[in-house]
Symmetry: C2
Subunit: 247 residues, 2 copies
DNA sequence: AAAGTTAGTTGATTTGCGTCAAGGATATAT
DNA sequence: ATATATCCTTGACGCAAATCAACTAACTTT
């Protein structure tokens, strides 16, 4: 009874069933990256029984800002944009969640941001109450969840530096290097950076307009620091870009 | 053995002794605001015995970015600026810590930001190792610490909106309203907003220059939304300002 | 009291990025 | 094939905030 999925994209249900069976942790690609890594096999089993395996088609909203937060998610594949809207429509993307990320760290009564699947996303859904109760009996998981929250806080503070004190070019480069580093933990790739989000999303993440983002991509491509591919970018001069991001 | 206080301001030690005796929790003004509120009296006593009561004179650096983080702090009075520096000297203040705030949430090996006392600051210092061990035996405290980290994360995400998508006037107003709300939890005041930080600090928090901050203060004062006092501002039209901050 | 020092304000000018506008590329639908 | 939609790019122009510069006020030092 989540209020989510009121208008599922029916056509995609065949390839993206929004509920799957349990017991899939053994071959879950997110296990070692996610909060689950804190658990012993029998504990993982117990948590698995509380989970509902979900699949969201591209562009589906997973949850919305200010709604009651009845559930939390563990992302097992795909990418999600997390964003806050101002009353006049201005949007700030506060982060992108990838494989292994946990949504629901804030544990408040209501969501503080909205979340949309960028491509197809799979996730383990838990009742917030059940997950919270599980935490009470598994302090190791709480420690890991706290480590996740602390890490997210550090990331958010680094993003404040990017938003407050960096130029447009530095913002785009720092974004690409940061995303490359996150992908590398998931798929190992060190020069190919998939960009499942649009230029508008990148702009709303960096405090820029879509035009400025586009111009910076063009500028970096013209100076051969990267090449723009159909699904992202390939870094040609990663060291040079890292230097700009570290500036 | 913290590496901190190598050059204490000797003149101020008489009025700001940097170590005090324990057993002061009973009349600690921060107790109900801080992580300590999660503890039973006997637990509070046990934690108190691990603490070293510190006092930092105005302008003293409490710890620096990238240094090993051997200790954590519970702020019991005063205000602290938390900031990150870029190699070229650009500065981003990531937050101001007030009475009841906890420094050391990230629990990483090294500090991710620097911290300076703005005025005189008192704090309970704990060895990070000892505090971490205490957490292992007091899951209620870990829950509260996690709640603190989650709350800080929400604050940081709201700051991203301010930095990325708000105008200079909105930034200054949102800052004042946010600070007013924090002071009100500490001292109850709802229209007087003490500003222990400089205009430069405010600019470095909001991604603005000192001149722009000054101009916005002047503009708000000219339209009688506030008056500038020697130690801060007094809000004359809080409702109007809240509306701007909520925009 | 004179000379620094630090914090803040105000005005003139510049500029980086936003806004406005047009056009191109790719994908899905008809 | 043609139409429609979405995403992206590029150019011309404008403006909000940065930069540069001068000045005031409040303290501290000598």
């Amino acid at each position: 009874m989540t209020g989510i999925h009121e208008t599922p994209a029916l056509a995609s249900l065949a390839i993206c069933p929004n509920s799957r069976s349990g017991g899939e942790c053994d071959h879950c690609q997110a296990r070692k990256l996610s909060v689950c890594a804190a658990l012993e096999p029998h504990e993982l089993n117990a948590l698995d029984r509380l989970s509902r395996k979900m699949c969201f088609p591209a562009r589906e909203t997973m949850f919305e800002q200010d709604e009651p937060s009845d559930v939390v998610y563990n992302i097992t594949s795909g990418a999600v944009r997390l964003y806050k809207l101002l009353p006049d429509g201005r949007r700030q993307i506060v982060g992108f969640a990838l494989t292994g990320d946990f949504l629901g760290l804030s544990m408040g009564e209501r969501n503080v941001f909205s979340a949309d699947a960028l491509g197809e996303v799979t996730a383990c859904q838990f009742s917030r109450k059940q997950f919270s109760d599980f935490l009470d009996t598994h302090p190791h998981l709480l420690r890991r969840l706290h480590a996740f929250a602390s890490h997210e806080l550090s990331i958010a503070q680094e993003q404040m530096v990017i938003l407050g004190r960096r130029t447009a070019e530095e913002k785009v480069v720092a974004f690409l290097i940061g995303l490359r580093n996150r992908w590398s933990r998931i798929n190992g790739s060190t020069v190919n950076v998939p960009l499942p989000m649009t230029r508008q999303d990148i702009g709303d993440f960096l405090g820029l307009t879509i035009e400025t983002v586009s111009r910076m991509f063009t500028k970096l491509a013209k100076q051969k620091s990267l090449v723009i591919t159909p699904d992202g970018v390939r870094l040609l001069e990663p060291a040079r870009l890292e230097a700009i991001a570290a500036t």
